[in-house]
């Protein structure tokens, strides 16, 4: 499966049609010419989201009230699809071969992962970034997981509202317990499911990580439940239930929830040392790339094809040695899109793929297809 071309209307400063190669696509241009906009448009087409903003209407060109990105996708030799996502104000609509479809149906056609500076949060930031990394990976191979996550977060929010209220008004403990119980009951069943799927997903990622390394740096990952050392994790739901009732007093005192999968983390080690604390920034970047490669490998095992692999501003985050290794690992697997503003990058990697030069949001020139 690969993306043959995209056509944009009113998408930031982009204009016209962009054609791509099955392997590596190097989107080249000076700053402000639309390189990041171009892979943002690809990402939007593939995921209906942006990696730059949650306020999608920012992407609509100034003075316009809608945008659209359409793409030709080759599914197999015989099957080619035309997909399109439109945004009017905050409203998205989706088309496959000119027919309006629902978002889930639309999302079956294409997917993408992005490597950029934000993603480095996964290897050096808060546990939340690592939980999001896991959750997005699970959702990509098991869409029903999203509902479980949303429900869990909703229950937490409801429970926190009760805890905050109870703390403020010094409500009698028994009364709070009765009010919290219906929420905790759901939290137990949703958290058990989330825990189980995350543990299973980390196992699959671990397998995909084996034998993959940069400069002999081995990356290992482990799911760390916040209930570790607090009871038998093979019987997660009863351990969690016990813990929730034990900690209710503390939760009321804190005015928010203290127990659950929203406190879990993913431990990442490089050569058996904690990556976040002891890893060099180069090691952190390598680790992130390996994690993303493992993620798309698990994705392929489940869905039968790789998602698009997007790397924004490739040479500001990675040195040429790591880039070479990365391109080698991706070769023959993913359709890859990278952006760069450096001619030295072209000197080194031009032979590996197609160069698309952008000026003022349009294709200025492109290298001939191999």
């Amino acid at each position: 499966m690969h993306l043959v071309s995209i056509e944009v209307s009113n998408f930031r400063n982009l204009k016209g049609v962009f054609c791509f190669e099955q392997g590596l696509n190097i989107i080249f241009g000076e700053n402000g010419q639309g390189k990041t906009n171009c892979i943002e448009a690809i990402y939007f087409l593939a995921t209906t989201r942006s990696f730059r903003t949650t306020n999608l209407s920012e992407m609509i060109a100034f003075g316009e009230n809608f945008l659209s990105v359409s793409g030709k996708v080759v599914v197999s030799k015989e099957i080619q699809k035309e997909i399109e996502v439109r945004l009017e104000g905050k409203r998205k609509s989706f088309l496959v071969n000119g027919k309006k479809v629902k978002v889930n149906e639309y999302l079956e056609n294409l997917d993408a992962v992005i490597f950029n500076a934000n993603e480095l949060e996964i290897v050096r930031g808060s546990p939340e970034a690592r939980r999001n990394f896991l959750d997005s990976g699970i959702t990509a191979i098991y869409p029903a997981y999203l509902r479980t996550l949303l429900d869990y977060n909703r229950c937490l929010k409801q429970k926190n509202a009760l805890l905050e209220e109870a703390q403020k008004h010094d409500t009698a403990f028994d009364k709070v317990a009765t009010m919290i119980e219906p929420w905790n009951e759901q939290i137990v069943s949703l958290a058990s499911r989330i825990h189980k799927l995350r543990v299973r997903y980390v196992e699959r990622l671990s397998k995909a990580l084996q034998n993959q390394f940069f400069n002999n740096e081995f990356i290992k990952i482990r799911y760390v439940s916040s209930l570790e050392g607090k009871g038998d994790l093979s019987n997660y739901s009863s351990t969690l239930r016990e813990r929730l009732s034990l900690r209710l007093g503390a939760e009321i005192a804190a005015g928010h929830s203290l127990v659950g999968v929203h406190r879990d983390d993913l431990e990442i080690t490089v050569n058996d040392r904690d990556l976040k604390k002891f890893g060099s920034s180069g090691q952190q970047r390598s680790a992130l790339l390996l994690l993303l490669i493992a993620k798309i490998e698990v994705y392929r095992q489940q869905n039968g094809y790789y998602p698009l692999f997007l790397i924004d501003d490739i040479d500001s985050e990675l040195d040429y040695e790591r880039i070479s290794k990365l391109l080698e690992l991706l070769e023959g697997k993913t359709q890859t899109f990278v952006t760069t503003s450096k001619t030295s990058f072209l000197d080194k990697f031009a032979s590996k793929g197609k160069i698309i030069t952008l000026k003022r949001g349009e294709v200025f020139s492109q290298s001939l297809t191999k």
Binding site: L150, K159, A161, E181, W183, E185, Q186
Partner: protein, 204 residues
Amino acid sequence: MLEYSEPIAKLIDEFKKLPGIGQKNAQRLVFFILRKSKEDVESLAKSLLEVKEKIKICSVCNNLTDIDPCFYCTSPDRDRSVICIVEEPYNLVAIEKTRSYKGLYHILHGALSPIRRIKPDDLKLSNLFPRLKPENNQMITVKEIIIATNPTTEGEATAHYIANLIKPLGIRVTRIATGMPVGSDLEFVDEVTMDKALANRHEI
């Protein structure tokens, strides 16, 4: 921007208070009404007042009705040993459409939601308990309570909360389950799904 004359602006504002109506739709409705005959508009205004004047809440089951107690609470054809609890009157309508349920109803007019400050006292729940005594139920014992709140987290929490209150009374409590798209609203569930959900209810 040019402003509308006062009566138009006022009606637009009134329409915008309705759920799901924004500025554009409100304008559309106002211009639609302006094009209608005086009789049509009078009839609409009359219906609005009439629904407000004549419809009340059933003192037994909280259903919306023009007679109190309502049709379901007084019908000799209903099985008085089963009560089905729903969130809103339109949920009752969805269940009635299946034609497979013959028991009584109890309508809560909401679901628990601490974020929206909806507490147990805000639900119409307290008048359920007198109904469980045979002397208030034409001498018939209530054997089962089916909780058919929406399969959202709020509906689930409400179901758990009510089940915890009723179970000590020794009455069987069941929850409709299978076949329901999780996170969906009963309003949007088709009749076949609803029928299956009712048949596959389980104890909670």
